[in-house]
Symmetry: C2
Subunit: 154 residues, 2 copies
Amino acid sequence: MQISSRFTIAVHIFACIDTFKDNYKITSDFLASSVNVNPVIIRKIVLQLRNAGLVETQRGSGGVTIAKALKDINFLDIYNAVECIEKGKLFHFHENPNCQCPVGRNIHNILDSKLEQVQNALENELKQITLAEIIKETQYYISEENKNKNNAIS
Amino acid sequence: MQISSRFTIAVHIFACIDTFKDNYKITSDFLASSVNVNPVIIRKIVLQLRNAGLVETQRGSGGVTIAKALKDINFLDIYNAVECIEKGKLFHFHENPNCQCPVGRNIHNILDSKLEQVQNALENELKQITLAEIIKETQYYISEENKNKNNAIS
DNA sequence: TCTTATTGTAACCATAAAGGTTACAATAAA
DNA sequence: TTTATTGTAACCTTTATGGTTACAATAAGA
């Protein structure tokens, strides 16, 4: 299993919106061009982000905007928005362990809390990383490029 | 995405082997009965565990045994054995971000270390949990059942 | 040696998810 | 009224999961 590319695309979308919001209208075509996927893929992901209250969209006139302060959106918010994870569980448990067997009828007692512990570790780490941090990194790398460009000119 | 049930089945298999090793020959049929899946499913998972050096099997005569000390097998070993994760990466990155776009050509710089940080958090937590702990829990829950049974008899 | 039990493995199958595409109604603004 | 855009339906392909039947290879016991 892998976390689907919807997650990295979603982060990419946020980076684009913030970087280009003053100079471009952020349409699904615009985003599709940067991410390099079909615009409908972008629209589906943007819809998931909108349903989670992370972005706002305008039908007809177009354009996507970020709905919250950058520091108030973290990777877990995005993960939960785009990753359709069954019952919120990271681990898929085999369905019908044999309750005639001492191990089979106790396997949930034995495992459930451990699996929860692992899932919490993942979620806590996702929670630590906010869009504020990502946008700062984005600005840094773009400004470094511009520095190099200016050096080449001068 | 979810971590596949191969993982919980694999842990279940280890719990069974240790619990019943003195009183039963641990065949794929025996394990299949406790887990409640087709014996071939068990054999495929046991093969993955064998390829990872975690168990030993005997063709013909049959039987599965644990290949290492219980404290030397952790959840990450089992996870890596049964979860065929592409290039070892937890996150699937969109393939071809547009290098004409400042965000597109920097998105890996921006994201890669963050994704690695999250994957490390997951793997470290998996590493903390050993089979020794799981077997201890298994014995505890089974002994509790036996206590209750004895109480009912007396 | 023959029989039996068991593993390893191939060859299928069904279902679901991911990722993608075309098409178009609904909408908003110029 | 026209145009641009979103939301959405209806498809498609590919891959992974989980499952099944069948059988050759193997090891041990009768």
